[in-house]
Point group: C2
Chain length 242, copies 2
DNA sequence: CGCGTGTTTGAAACCGCTCAATGACTGTGG
DNA sequence: CCACAGTCATTGAGCGGTTTCAAACACGCG
């Protein structure tokens, strides 16, 4: 059975057996973090890269007057602090949407592996780039897409990300997120998120119910959102075929 | 006289004489590009990193239905394709707002210098990180700031960036950008950008006239925008003291 | 049971958009 | 030199998408 680390990286770049072996030899520590809590405050500061085993988290920034902007959603398999591994430019916090089970890789050991295996290093770069690329796409959403398009686009994004990590698990996936959090991510009020989700449901496109997102018609949903999965940087485009 | 490359990188990290010498020994080619044109279409593809000597440009993404989202503004001294130097994940175009004079550094030669001088390499990372960090801040603006706050914040950002690159050239700086372009960047209609600029003028905060932005009251402007320059990653915080 | 959290819906207000028209400026061709 | 077209800035009027305020409802939990 391949490790979560290898599984994640191979979403971006196929690895050789030697690459895989190097990564799988890495030790890691488990961390368990209660739901709705500040992740950074609990984790040992620096020196490690953490990957989500189970649970959901978000990156966010808080304005001085209390407004909160969520700038990224992290699902199982994602790294939550890859950026800090590269440079120490914090600026944002990480918040657990659910209870989290994390795997923490020692940064120094990881670095050694990456220096020995350039292809593994490239895969990590890709993973980081994909994050930035998603943020870029959110920028487009917030700037140019309507509420309906924004939420539809977010659903498409998460659907593809789930599908790629889980190798196509059907048209329903776990999404334990409140409407308030969707609003904080997409720049909408909670109330309007509610109405928007209702509209998507009534149009027969997607349905969110008790933490489960059901895709009713991916083609129409992607069409409405002007969603094109290439920006996610996945090498494997199976998710592209709805 | 120090080269533009060194001057830019030293905004992020102080360099040693050896670092500087290595960078200044780099050859570069000049490129001149007409105003209002697609930069990528003209530049020799790949293999080079370009820095703006004079002129202004923007990074943007176009949606299939024609809507355009500007995701970054580049001013003299900035690199326009640093990201592509790291990974080939295009997705966005570069557009010259004015006529551009570019310096093109050969990517392979630059890479050699950076491998020999880790501190220079780190400065380049910082420059790239700063770009991402600005995009992140725009995400916050688009998601959570009002039109007035957004435009005010953009003005603060550009003011500080100008000040740092030009070592504090006073409270007026060149900003040859149309109101339509401000709108495409901040997710506002042209008409509303106009009204917003009028409001800022009437409040005695900032004034944009024939391509010159004049800061009338930086403190109040920054306060309105909830602007805090740390995200720009500059080591030199003189711009912080208004 | 009562409480807290999250969802749902209605009504009214508002911010920002669209449509439309005018004026200022610039470059172009006659 | 003037007429013309094109781009950009400016302003008014009206519409509409989204927000805010408010209240009810559903659900899980101690």
């Amino acid at each position: 059975m391949t490790s979560a680390l290898v599984r994640k990286l191979e979403c971006y770049l196929p690895l050789s057996d030697v690459d895989r072996a190097g990564l799988e030899a890495l030790q890691f520590k488990f961390h368990s973090i209660a739901a709705k809590s500040e992740v950074e405050a609990i984790l040992p500061a620096g020196g490690a890269v953490h990957q989500i085993q189970t649970g959901y988290a978000c990156r966010y920034r808080q304005l001085p007057d209390g407004r909160r902007q969520i700038s990224g959603l992290m699902i199982p398999g994602d790294f939550i602090d890859l950026r800090k591994f590269v440079v120490t430019g914090a600026e944002h916090g990480v918040f657990g949407l659910t209870e989290l089970a994390l795997m923490g890789y020692d940064a120094a050991s990881l670095l050694r592996v990456l220096e020995a295996r350039p292809r593994s290093a490239q895969a990590v770069w890709r993973a980081l780039l994909a994050e930035e690329s998603i943020a870029q796409e959110w920028l487009v959403s917030l700037g140019k897409r309507s509420a309906l398009e924004r939420v539809a686009h977010l659903i498409c994004e998460l659907y593809v990300r789930h599908t790629v990590m889980n190798e196509g698990a059907g048209r329903t996936f776990t999404l334990p997120i409140t409407q308030r959090e969707i609003g904080d991510a997409m720049g909408l009020s909670t109330v309007h998120v509610n109405r928007t989700l209702r509209e998507l449901r009534q149009r027969g496109l997607a349905k969110l119910q008790s933490g489960q997102m059901e895709i009713l018609n991916f083609e129409k949903l992607a069409d409405l959102a002007m969603f094109s999965p290439t920006y996610l940087q996945f090498r494997n485009r199976t998710a592209n075929r709805h």
